[in-house]
Amino acid sequence: MSQKNASPLMSRLQAAPAWIRSRLGAYIWLRHCDQIGANTRTFWRPNVENHGRIMIGARVRLNSHWAPIELASGPHGVIDIADGVYINYGSIISAHERVRIGANVMIGNYCIVADTEVPAIVDRPDGPSISARPIEIGDGAWLATRVTVLPGSKIGAGAVIAAGSVVSGDIPPGMVAGGIPARVLRAV
């Protein structure tokens, strides 16, 4: 029977192995995180480098299908991902201080959300001094593909960031912003 003509029950049964795999994957591949909410799922394997604290809420989906997602926290870094977040493949989330991602945020592929200039290098003994400034992404925001969020940025709730933008500074809630650097284009 083809997928197209399948009954809802049949299609749910067909989707079951993938669902189970993604649920189990969350337990296996996110085991280094400090906290994982209910029903969090991972598709393929994300990389987790946890030297600080990584908290992941409920119903979070992490897609690492074509390029893995990198979650990296430094010795004093906190990554706080709220409920219902979707992060697409190849994104880097890196915290030396604090990165907070609000509920139901969608992050596109190959985004960089890092509170330092160099993302993902988290523990360098006697390395150069690192200046981190925390990042906050409000509830329901949407980052399109290849968005770079610079240290110290704050994105308001429900804001939409256009593809390829570089966000520096504050984006007010409920606005569409884009460009390098991202400027407000219009209301959502």
């Binding site: 880097i92 360098r124 003994p125 290849r146």
Partner: protein, 262 residues
């Protein structure tokens, strides 16, 4: 701070074994691609991320790639030397950065490609953001800062902060507060509108076209400046400017000291 485990140290040594010289304590996250046909010198305490996307370092035939001490490079970086690329000490380089001293390079081992190279030089203590492209002939001075997404193909003086494609100097390195919003970044647009120019002027080079400098347009400009930056310039100080750079300097001077972002 975590010290490197013997396994990390061993793997880093093995992955960097083709390099001509490697300093103490290299730290690699994931496996990079290293092609050495010429010389590759890496200083001590080198950090390189290759996850989620692998980074690659290439030194072509007879080329020298020299990386200083305490350099850290993010993931997905591509650094190719076909003549000479040097990166100074304590430089931090973001993710998905491309640094090449040629316009083009073929697959590893492909000898048919004719390279047209100009050496690239990056100074000590530079900070280079994510997704920056540094093309041939670029010289970045000590302590300069390149913001994310820029394309650099020229000379950036020491201690400057540059951004954009192609990168322009927008301020001093280390001024954290609203650098993108410094006067130089939005002045071109403002000048274009108030002086009725056909395109945004190049602040560094161009002189003010004298026929556009009328009473009405200067009044427009002063109004726009006060609306945009909250600075009240007087007519006399701005009337003496002959170039756009002088206007930018006057505006920068009149700006109140910015407080750092909380």
């Amino acid at each position: 701070m975590k010290t490197l485990s013997w396994w990390d140290a061993f793997r880093a040594r093995r992955w960097l074994q083709d390099c001509t010289s490697v300093g103490t304590d290299p730290y690699l996250i994931g496996k990079p691609t290293i092609n050495v046909d010429g010389e590759m010198h890496i200083g001590k305490c080198f950090s390189l991320a290759s996850r989620p996307v692998a980074s690659h370092l290439t030194a072509g035939q007879g080329a020298i790639l020299r990386i200083g001490d305490h350099v850290s490079i993010g993931s997905g970086a591509g650094i190719a030397a076909f003549q000479h690329v040097s990166i100074g000490n304590d430089t931090q380089i973001g993710a998905f950065v491309v640094i090449m001293d040629t316009n083009f390079h073929g697959a590893p081992g492909d000898q048919s490609v004719q390279h047209d190279c100009q050496p690239v030089q990056i100074g000590n203590g530079c900070r280079i953001g994510s997704r920056v492209t540094i093309t041939r002939g670029a010289v970045i001075g000590d302590g300069a800062e390149i913001l994310a997404g820029s394309v650099v193909s020229s000379v950036i003086p020491p201690g400057a902060c540059a951004a954009g494609a192609k990168a322009r100097i927008i301020g001093r390195a280390g001024d954290l507060a609203s650098r993108w919003d410094s006067a130089a970044a939005s002045l071109p647009e403002l000048l274009m509108n108030s002086l009725n120019l056909s395109s945004p002027p190049d602040l560094d080079a161009s002189r003010i076209p004298i026929d556009r400098w009328t009473d009405a347009s200067v009044r427009d400009l002063l109004d726009a400046l006060s609306a945009r930056f909250g600075v009240a310039l007087d007519r006399i100080s701005i009337d003496q400017s002959r170039t756009f750079a002088e206007i930018a300097a006057a505006v920068e001077q009149a700006l109140p000291e910015r407080s750092p972002r909380p």
